[in-house]
């Protein structure tokens, strides 16, 4: 279970260094792809943690949106420093995850997924209809500063890339270490057997709540980065249910074996989407949808350890007929 520890950590570190070097040679559009991948990858890491717990959210665009819109609103009141924006965007998302978590932690399966979706659509509804929040047009994002400094020209984007890469690195390593901790291993435990967790002395609900907050924080951070990268926030591209669907798409694409793989998955998604849009604009959704179908149906690698877990679970369903015989 744990001898891979070194591999993922060093893999991530190597990845970060690689990105630093790459940063010097990237063209602008590539950097944009990179930034968007990092942004979405962050969300997907949170979803990975939830997926391992046996939960899928069809509404994480909620927290993504909180992060993004916090940036917009703070800029309106004059805050432009990226560190402050990142902190606040993440904190706001985390706060809502904490509050909603009390409710959501009691649900499982499709009800968990749909309740998340409902809340995300509530936010969408508010943002899309309220004029002062930009309505469907959204709000523009100005350039941000780094502790008072604002690099000129290409330097601005390079600095943004470094910031995003470092943040993603810290988040990824943190998530990786988290998954190796007792609480992290409880993703598996809760998914497998909540009763057992309870009788070992821990509350499955509390475990879920912690994970939910973590996923909210990560999604919020992703939203902040996306907002700054794109320079604009609007409900449809950030809070709508399809956005949530895309996040889950990335999670499936990456497989949930490895935190690093999530960013690669996000990159693949980004490339797929960009190139599909570029070369076949009439059918880019078809290509995206087709790819997802392909992965779901044929690609064990894309699913990685999920799949073997699913296989196990189906065997188990036969092996352990009734879940518990606790009641008379």
């Amino acid at each position: 279970m744990t001898r891979q520890f070194d591999r993922t950590f060093w893999g991530l570190t190597a990845g970060l260094l690689f990105l630093f070097v790459l940063n010097l040679f990237l063209e602008e559009w590539m950097r944009t792809i990179g930034l968007q991948s990092l942004s979405r990858g962050l969300v997907a890491v949170g979803l990975l943690i939830l997926w391992r717990t046996g939960l899928v959210s069809f509404g994480h665009a909620l927290f993504f949106g909180f992060g993004a819109y916090t940036v917009a609103l703070m800029q309106i009141v004059g805050v432009n420093d990226i560190f402050v924006l990142m902190f606040c965007g993440t904190a706001v998302a985390g706060l809502f995850a904490f509050l909603l978590g009390f409710l959501l932690r009691q649900y499982r399966a499709i009800f968990f997924a749909l309740l998340n979706m409902a809340f995300s659509m509530i936010l969408y509804g508010v943002l899309a209809k309220v004029e002062s929040l930009g309505s469907t047009d959204g709000i523009g994002i100005n350039q941000i500063t780094y502790l008072g400094l604002k690099p000129e020209g290409e330097g601005y984007r390079m600095a943004l890339f470094v910031f995003a890469a470092v943040f993603a690195y810290i988040a990824a390593v943190g998530a990786h270490w988290y998954l190796k901790s007792t609480l992290g291993m409880m993703t598996m435990a809760v998914r497998e057997n909540e009763i057992r967790v309870e009788y070992l002395g821990y509350s499955a609900e509390r475990a879920i709540h912690v994970k939910y907050v973590i996923s909210g924080l990560l999604a919020g951070a992703g939203g902040v980065i996306m907002a700054i990268t794109v320079g604009h926030v609007d409900p449809e591209s950030m809070v709508y249910w399809i956005v949530s669907g895309d996040f889950v798409f990335i999670t499936i694409l990456s497989g949930t074996g490895n935190v690093g793989a999530t960013f690669i998955g996000a990159l693949v998604y980004e490339l797929l989407r960009t190139y599909a849009f570029e070369f076949a604009p009439q059918i880019w959704q078809l290509i995206l949808g087709g790819s997802l179908l392909f992965i779901i149906m044929f690609l064990p690698d894309g699913l990685w350890s999920i799949r073997s877990e699913w296989r196990n679970r189906r065997n188990l369903a036969a092996a352990a007929r009734s879940e518990t015989q606790v009641a008379e």
Partner: protein
């Protein structure tokens, strides 16, 4: 006196508009809920069925009318297009996709239908392009009528009747026919039904076709009232989800009540405080999920720890 008259008018407007919304929502949602009840799949592709229905019907009506043929034919085209789509799309999706995925994690199945939805959205674009289709021949044919001093078009009212008729037919079909009883058995317990010798595979296929037909009918019948354009499926499916959740997943009366609730709420918001339109609908959805996750009328038990 004037104040009261205005309020009364507002009430009528909300009621009629609300019921019109409810009707096409019901047609879409009832298909969705039946499919979920039988196959336990939350079929996102249903939004495409609605859109396909709308496009196909609008297209055919356009051809027909331009061909100088009588306007009432539009109704036959609506029904016909829904039937054709029901069978074609139903078979394609159920046999081509879902059949291979039964038994897998329910989230994966929803995602697969989401993927199929994306694909079909573009197929629509490929076939019909991005320009809107307008096919108001049937609408014009039925003219308008006056209720309490307000003008409404008869076509919209007829949609309300259609929804009602469909609801009754479904109720009858489910409770009084052989197939309906089989369906109820499969909804209740799939394994037991199989053990009893019911051909569940066939039941799945037929159910899915019926569901697809209903979704397409919702779109087809709605087409003359709206501007048929890209994206209508996206909007509808998430509303239909809300309806199904509120009414109860797998429950036909639930779909009826749910669509009425959503329809009236939406109409109320639109006519009184437009900003809360979506907030209200999804707020109710969230509320129902919290208070009674199975929905107001449901057979499905929510997993709550």
């Amino acid at each position: 006196m004037r104040g009261i008259a205005l309020d009364f008018e507002l009430l009528i407007v909300i009621l009629v508009d609300g019921l019109v919304y409810s009707s096409y929502l019901f047609l879409v949602a009832v298909g969705l809920t039946v499919i979920f009840g039988v196959q336990k799949v939350l079929n996102v592709t249903h939004g495409s069925f609605y859109a396909f229905g709308a496009y196909f019907a609008a297209y055919l009506i356009g051809l027909w009318t331009n061909g100088g043929l009588p306007d009432w034919g539009g109704f036959l085209l609506i029904l016909g297009s829904a039937l054709i789509l029901g069978v074609v799309l139903g078979v394609v999706i159920e046999r081509g996709l879902l059949k291979h995925l039964y038994g897998r994690d329910e989230h994966v199945m929803v995602l697969a239908t989401f993927a199929a939805f994306l694909v079909l959205e573009d197929v629509i674009l490929l076939i019909w392009g991005t320009d809107p289709y307008l096919a108001f021949a049937p609408l014009a044919l039925l003219g308008s009528t006056e209720i309490a001093g307000l003008i409404f078009d008869v076509y919209s009212l007829s949609m309300i009747s259609l929804a009602f008729v469909v609801a009754v037919i479904l109720w009858y079909g489910l409770n009084r026919t052989q197939f309906g009883k089989i369906l109820l058995a499969v909804i209740f317990d799939r394994e037991l039904s199989m053990a009893m010798g019911i051909n569940v595979t066939k039941v799945f296929l037929v159910t899915f076709i019926i569901g697809t037909f209903l979704g397409a009918l919702g779109g087809a019948y709605h087409a003359p009232i709206i501007s048929v354009q890209p994206g209508i499926g996206v909007e509808v499916i998430v509303l239909a989800f809300a309806v199904v959740v509120i009414g109860g997943m797998g429950s036909i009366p639930g779909a009826l009540i749910g669509s009425i609730i959503v329809g009236i709420s939406r109409a109320s918001a639109v006519h009184m405080l437009p900003e809360v339109e979506l907030f209200v609908i999804y707020g109710i959805m969230a509320l129902v999920l919290v208070i009674r996750p199975e929905g107001l009328f449901a057979p499905v038990k929510a997993r709550r720890i």
